[in-house]
Symmetry: C2
């Protein structure tokens, strides 16, 4: 009854939609373009997914649910083997970033990357809520783990730094074509191991940055 064959109408639609959404954007992709690419009838979308919104939701869920499950499994394994003690920071970051990097480089998931960044910018009413729900729980888990790894951070400080961390990570996973172009081919985003090492090094250093004094006038740039 549900999908198990390699090329049902549902799957063809999801694949085509994912491909087109990531290259042209969601709003700019018409159902007719999707059904043409998938070589199925136009009405199939509303038959199988109810509406375009339903198709969009399913496109995201198909990738993000396994992604977050893998992240949680890795974090669970770390917490079990740590047996109550704080986990090493780099290991936590690894559990967050590696599933995304691996997915981003698999032949099937290569398209979802650009979509992930669009999440935060596209003010799609339903999509925004869906993803907020999807990420709020897993984010709490990882925040807690990071907080235990860097106990000297206050709750506010921790949240801010996690926010910066997410920015760096999302931007990296989503915008891999731009880093290659801007660096003039110097940087190779397909080198997963290199990206991982550099990204985690950067983020770990940022998260563990020394706490500055609040009233110390920083450095410069005030001349305006």
């Amino acid at each position: 009854m549900e999908s198990q064959a390699p090329s049902t109408t549902k799957d063809r639609l999801l694949d085509a939609a994912e491909e087109l959404f990531s290259s042209r954007g969601i709003d700019a992709t018409s159902l007719r373009a999707i059904t043409s690419a998938a070589e199925v009838n136009l009405a199939s979308v509303n038959y199988h997914f109810g509406s375009k919104d339903g198709l969009v939701k399913t496109v995201f869920l198909r990738r993000l649910e396994p992604l977050n499950n893998e992240r949680l499994e890795l974090l669970d394994a770390l917490e079990i083997s740590a047996a109550g003690a704080p986990i090493e920071l780099e290991a936590i970051l690894d559990a967050w970033v590696m599933p995304a990097l691996r997915m981003g480089h698999s032949p099937e998931g290569k398209r979802i990357k650009r979509l992930m960044s669009g999440i935060y910018s596209e003010p799609g009413d339903t999509l925004q809520a869906l993803l907020r729900d999807l990420f709020s729980e897993i984010l709490r888990r990882f925040c807690a783990a990071i907080g235990r790894a860097i106990p000297e951070l206050s709750g506010e400080e921790l949240m801010w730094r996690v926010h910066f961390m997410l920015g760096a990570m999302i931007h990296t996973v989503a915008d891999q074509p731009s880093i290659r172009a801007l660096s003039g081919g110097l940087c190779d985003p397909s080198d997963i191991e290199g990206v991982r090492r550099r990204l985690i090094g950067f983020v770990a250093a940022g998260l563990q940055a020394p706490l500055e004094e609040k009233d110390a006038p920083p450095t410069a740039g005030e001349n305006r």
Copy 2:
């Protein structure tokens, strides 16, 4: 002949478009919604800007050109007063981030913030090229300055870290509502001085992270 009065049709259109683009997205905002909010005639858009694309471009240019000019002026001032010596890293980052933070908090520019992140995700053909051009030069200037401040970084390593830095900064400037919500009101994005101190502290630490060995197997997360 050009705009100097406080409420010409052109300015009313730009203000209304900026507001609606940032809250609903560019594609989801119709010219009719814009002209209604601006209380001008529908045809005014095509008369004054040629097309919707022309309006979009002007909306971005009106904010980004002064923003980047201010950044360049600050960097120029730093380089002049440094007289050939490397500039302190935090001062360079300040020159990049403060104009954006200040603009994002002024009453007139509060709307542009969310748009800035959409830049990287929305695959609008013309817009993408416009912004790539706008940022490629200033980015080269700041990369060079940062490279002089941290001379031990190779060109590749520098580009990667600047990439991470941009992710954290863009995400912070653009997505200020989400940090307040996710932290349960704990983090206050309207505290410019606090945001500046934390963001620059994070990014500076990330940029100056120690260089790891290439072949050292990192930490964990491989169990899958």
